[in-house]
Amino acid sequence: MRAASQVLEEHRVELSTLDREIGDGDHGENMNRGFGALVTALERDAPDSPGGVLKLAATTLISKVGGAAGPLYGTAFLRAATAVKDAAELDADLVAKALRAALDGVVARGKAELGDKTMVDALLPAVRAAEEAAGRGEDVPTLLKAAAEAAAEGADSTVLLVARKGRASYLGERSVGHLDPGARSTSLLLRTFADVASGVR
């Protein structure tokens, strides 16, 4: 989470710039504020289970991010926390389940479908890749790497899409040609989780 916060801090301006092009220019600020608060909360009193950390992430993001991303990421982490219950360690199956639960949460809240140019376009391919990897019996680092790659590809695919959800949808056809900031932040988060799992960060 600390790494995620750092990555989001590094990409704050990029995400806000993407959001300025097709939204209102605050996505980087929002994410950075939320994950910054999460790091502070973890430093104060870190839960000892992965589920506990995910739950703390959910409540912190919900109360600090605001905007569309706050409740969506909040719900995602909340559902993921519920999915992993009180497991002491996360194996590949659990990670895949948590990602699926997160996706279901985002879709339940935001009602976006694949191709609507939202974070779902990054998260859904990531979940599929994770499930395939889990099916193949890969370990967690490999699974997360696959998920992150799929998310990156998914995020890139949003450039060509017309936005149908969120603020960018007001633009209609004029949203084409711009990367969706929420898809980009999802891809950044998954890349970071993969890096941490494989010891790169």
């Binding site: 600020e29 919900i62 969506l72």
Partner: protein, 333 residues
């Protein structure tokens, strides 16, 4: 970026402090989570009317808190919807025992955050209703968008429902009234130049010297299209025509005309535009019975304006005229 601020990350908090010191008789301000409540909250046996949204639209919503309008406003960061815990705090601070109505502008972020808060409050046993306002005719309302945005009509909705709640109308009544207002109000705006979000430090968008953005949102989201800068007559017509067609407003209709500055357009231009709108409406036989002119639903220092038309009947006129005492709107008291 030139602004009268200390630090982009503390703008909202410091501004709220200043607002609290400016209006000690009207409001109390809590900073974490940020809530503006009327000084005498909670008002027992009165439906609590609560709204909120990103900061940067001042006086909306904090300037509408007070007798006869809002019980509380939840200000988010600049152009960022507030979080559920703010709304929960507002609900707790204004609970008069007969339920609360949340007035939410139709943006994905606002809707999701208020929705989450409403769920949590219902779990706590507070009766909460939500009305979403989406008066902006610039956005095509279809399955393929997030739907129309809530803009200038929000003020009219908050004033009218606030007056009803102050008179003791119950939660069902307030909700029905709110839905009626939402159904009868339409807006559209344009921008000549962008404002600057403090933490961004650069204009949200740039327009050429001879172009305007027609159908702009209040966060600098792009509008329907960019068109050449025209005369005031042309600009006002380009706002009014889509509004009139949308409901539609017909000859003989009684309306409230709200001519709003987006912040940076001075009053001399705004009155000029208002006069044109009145003339065009008179030509169509639409009867302007009430008006409001000024910078009320703004987008920082954005230059531009919006027009809002609300179809009136005796009930709405009566509630509009009812006393109101807030930082931004005050009459009859």
């Amino acid at each position: 970026m030139k602004k009268i601020i200390n630090d982009p990350s503390t703008v909202v908090e410091e501004s709220l402090r200043g607002m609290a010191s400016a209006h000690p008789d009207l409001i109390r301000v809590q900073l974490d989570p940020a809530v503006v409540v009327r000084a005498d909250a909670p008002v027992s046996r009165k439906v609590a009317i609560i709204s909120g949204g990103g900061a940067g639209h001042e006086p909306m919503h904090g300037g509408f808190v007070g007798k006869g309008m809002l019980d509380a406003a939840c200000p988010g960061h600049v152009f960022t919807s507030p979080t559920p815990d703010q709304v929960q705090a507002a609900l707790a601070m204004t609970d008069g025992g007969v339920g609360a109505l949340l007035i939410v502008k139709n943006y994905t972020g606002d809707v999701l955050n208020f929705e989450t808060a409403a769920e949590l409050a219902e779990a706590d046993g507070v009766e909460v209703r939500t009305v979403v306002i989406d008066d902006d005719v610039a956005v095509t309302d279809s399955l393929y968008t997030a739907g129309r945005r809530g803009v200038g009509g929000t003020l009219l909705l908050e004033k009218i429902v606030g007056a009803a709640a102050e008179r003791g109308v119950d939660l069902d009544g307030c909700e029905a009234l709110a839905r009626k207002v939402v159904a009868q109000v339409r807006s559209m705006g344009l921008a000549l130049a962008s404002g600057i979000v403090p933490h961004a430090g650069v204009p949200s968008f740039t327009l050429a010297d001879d172009e305007i953005e027609l159908g702009i949102g209040i966060h600098g989201e792009p509008g329907r299209r960019r068109v050449p800068l025209g005369t005031a007559d042309e600009m006002v017509k380009s706002l009014l025509d889509p509004i009139l067609e949308d409901l539609p407003f017909a000859e003989g209709d009684r309306v409230l005309l709200f001519t709003n500055s987006m912040g940076g357009t001075p009053l001399i231009e705004l009155y000029l535009a208002h006069g044109i709108a009145e003339r065009l409406l008179a030509e169509r036989g639409v009867v302007v019975e009430r008006r409001l002119v000024g910078p009320f639903v703004t987008s920082l220092e954005m230059q531009g304006m919006s027009l809002t038309l609300l179809k009136l009947d005796d009930e709405l006129v009566d509630l509009w005229d009812a006393p109101v005492h807030t930082a931004a709107l005050r009459w009859g008291v």
